[in-house]
């Protein structure tokens, strides 16, 4: 089975400093892969490079997404192709209403795909159901994007965007950070609800905790910009027990 997302020998640097030093990773449709690693191992850089953020310079390797050269695409084209990054630190947009933002994003994607745009009423109907499942109040639609949101609300808002935009591939960057256990369960339920045979996911996390709720098919350990070990879900438990120390020494 050919991989939905295929990363080969990916190298990237930030401000002239090499952060990713040759990553090989293949995520087939229908699978959830976890990337674990200590701070500074390059986890978030990987997420940003895949989403196309400026300032992250790819110095080697390739990324193929659904058969296309992902690295050649602009960020909005990656989104249109079905890639979604749930940010570790969702950006606040003062003055931009959450509902309008979400509808504009959805319609931009629908336009690119040649689908008809949704009007305000159709959109509201769609979003209401999704919000309920995430334990979000409609009041959060009226607020400015992420402004004044608690850490948990911001993460839920990311998952809401994911649920509405229905991307083919989701990258979750430290979605568990800053969440208490209840919020974590809600977010995990939201993610699990999106698991589907045609959808791939890459869950980036520091801790095993999230993986109790979102059980991955594969776990990869990122250390010093390279994947040093891969395994099944049991690898996450092992890391939880032993920490990254042993692997760090080996690396």
């Amino acid at each position: 089975m050919s991989a939905m997302l295929k990363i080969e020998g990916l190298e990237a640097s930030v401000e002239g400093k090499a952060v990713l030093k040759g990553i090989d990773l293949a995520v087939p449709a229908g699978e959830v892969h976890a990337i674990m690693g200590p701070n500074g191992s390059g986890k978030s850089t990987l997420g940003y490079v895949l989403a196309g953020r400026e300032g992250y310079e790819v110095t080697g390797g390739s990324v193929t997404f659904r058969g296309e050269d992902l690295l050649a695409m602009e960020p909005e084209d990656r989104a249109a192709a079905g890639l979604f990054l749930a940010f570790q630190y969702p950006v606040e947009l003062p003055g931009v209403g959450n509902a309008n933002f979400l509808r504009q994003a959805l319609n931009a994607l629908r336009r690119k795909r040649g689908e008809p745009e949704l009007d305000a009423m159709q959109f509201l109907k769609l979003v209401r159901g999704k919000m309920k499942a995430l334990g979000m109040t409609e009041e959060m639609l009226k607020r400015f994007v992420n402004v004044g949101f608690s850490g948990g609300e911001k993460k839920r808002n990311e998952i809401l965007q994911m649920a509405v935009l229905e991307p083919a591939f989701c990258i979750l960057d430290e979605t568990d950070s800053g969440l208490d256990i209840d919020a974590l369960k809600i977010v995990a339920d939201g993610v699990n609800a999106l698991r589907a045979p045609e959808r791939g996911m890459l869950v980036i996390t520091h801790y095993q905790r999230l993986l109790t709720y979102i059980v991955p098919d594969r776990v990869h350990v990122l250390l010093g910009g390279r994947i040093v070990r891969s395994g099944g879900p049991e690898l996450a438990l092992e890391l939880e027990e032993k920490g990254y120390g042993e692997l760090q020494q080996a690396a």
Binding site: E74, F101, Q104, A105, L106
Partner: protein, 465 residues
């Protein structure tokens, strides 16, 4: 006034009773004075002594001042040479022609007065649904009639000494709207004044509308003014507006300046607010190659309030200037100002805001915020806040920020599928939001949003993005 020291452009023979051009006058000033001399016997109301005398005094004031140069403090950031170097004729009698109103303006849903090249056009206006308690007259007609009640109002707030443009207006004004309102807030009186520059001639023309607005005690009015234009021939719209608000009256004044891109636009508003009254203004600027918006608001009675808000949007090589002077002359008054500039291309903006607190104006609450968003490395803003406070128990604050679009915000929007131009538009709209929110009338706010979108489409096209 914004500046205490104004000097003529070129040393002139000061103080002569005659307004005839003296040899040392700047040629542009001399040309305007000659125009006054030539028109003196033709301008509306010339048969009435007081009208002629008013114009002569204005001509003298204009001759004394000349056009300000950049050495004059209040004009330091705005170079008037492109305007001074052009010769503007008076408009030809307007011919019947359709007036192009910008989208979203025509249906602002209010009785409408249309001025074509500065002249009132009853045939294009719609005053059938004028509510009780609102009287609308043409300045030209009142001048011709030599109405005494006009004499008390014309120039009562706008002294010809205030600026060269006010003097020029007083000297050459032919027409304008004279509005008197007695209807209370429940009547929700609304009016729309449209000024259209047609550039129908192939030579530059100038017009100098003078609007007089008076609200009696407890009256209320929402006035929407839009200034539009067409064609490539430059024209000068030099409007002066005098707003007199009696105790407890309340006026919402929303203005859209979307003049033709070759036009020159100078607007000077004088508003005097009586005790407990409120002047609430918003000005959106999207047009004209050179625009100067001057507002003088005087809080003359206790507990009066003035809200001056606005946004100036620059693109190409346009120059936009907002200059405000708020005078707190009575105690317990409040003034609020939020002005935003968004500048693309090589455009340039000026914001000068002065809050002047008299000794008697204790418990003054003054606030001024000026924010600029620069969309291009070649765009520029000069900002000059000024506080002049003579009372000792006041709360006055001002702030200014200049920034670019936030890269993280842009990336966030793009990562959700928005193309760069759309993402920028979202952030520009968001930047303007807290100023625009001050416009409570939804229809007017929608019209302003549309004008903003039109400007952005143009700015994008110019940038080739």
């Amino acid at each position: 006034m914004a500046s205490s020291s104004r000097q003529p452009d070129v040393a002139s023979s000061v103080g002569g009773a005659s307004a005839a051009p003296a040899p040392l006058l700047h040629p542009a000033v001399a040309a305007y004075l000659a125009r006054h001399d030539g028109l003196a016997d033709r301008l509306p109301g010339h048969r009435h002594d007081w009208v002629g005398a008013l114009r002569r005094r204005a001509a003298e004031a204009f001759a004394r001042q000349g056009f300000p140069t950049r050495r004059v403090e209040a004009w330091h950031y705005t170079d008037l040479r492109p305007l001074i170097e052009l010769r503007f004729d008076e408009p030809l009698t307007a011919i019947d022609r359709p007036v192009i109103l910008p989208d979203g303006i025509a249906d602002a849903g209010a009785p409408r007065l249309v001025f074509l090249d500065g002249r009132f056009r009853p045939d294009l206006s719609d005053l059938d649904t004028l509510p009780d308690g609102v009287r609308v007259e043409s300045l030209s007609a009142l001048l011709e009639a030599g109405e005494d009640r006009l004499r008390a109002r014309l120039g009562a707030l706008a002294a010809a000494e205030a600026s060269a443009f006010v003097a020029l207006n007083a000297m050459l004004a032919e027409d304008g709207a004279v509005i008197t309102v007695t209807s209370p807030p429940e009547a929700a009186a609304r009016l729309h004044i449209v000024s259209a520059g047609t550039a129908s001639a192939d030579r530059p023309i100038a017009f100098h509308p003078r609007h007089l607005i008076r609200l009696d005690e407890g009256a209320a009015l929402t006035l929407f003014e839009s200034a539009v234009g067409e064609g490539a021939t430059p024209y000068l719209n030099n409007t002066v507006t005098e707003v007199s608000l009696a105790a407890g009256s309340r006026m919402t004044h929303v203005r859209l300046q979307a003049e033709a891109l070759g036009a020159f636009y100078v607007s000077t508003v004088f508003a005097e607010v009586g005790s407990g009254g409120e002047y609430d203004s918003f000005a959106l600027v999207t047009g004209a190659r050179l625009a100067r918006n001057e507002v003088y608001a005087t809080l003359a009675g206790p507990k009066a309030a003035a809200h001056l808000n606005g946004a100036q949007l620059g693109d190409g090589a346009r120059h936009v200037d907002t200059t405000t002077v708020i005078t707190h002359a009575a105690p317990d008054c409040a003034s609020r100002q939020t002005f935003k500039s968004v500048l693309a291309g090589r455009s340039r903006a000026v914001f000068q805001g002065k809050i002047h607190v008299h000794k008697a104006a204790q418990k003054t609450d003054g606030y001024q915020m000026n924010q600029a968003l620069l969309l291009s490395p070649e765009a520029e803003i000069d900002a000059k806040p000024q506080l002049e406070i003579y009372a000792d128990d006041v709360k006055c604050s001002h702030g200014a920020t200049v920034g670019e679009l936030d890269a993280d915000q842009l990336f966030y929007l793009r990562s959700r599928g928005l193309p760069p131009a759309e993402a920028r538009a979202v952030l520009i709209e968001a930047f303007l939001a807290d100023a625009l929110e001050a416009v409570r009338d939804e229809a007017l706010r929608a019209a302003l949003s549309q004008a903003t979108a039109t400007w952005w489409a143009r700015a994008r096209a110019e940038a080739g993005a």
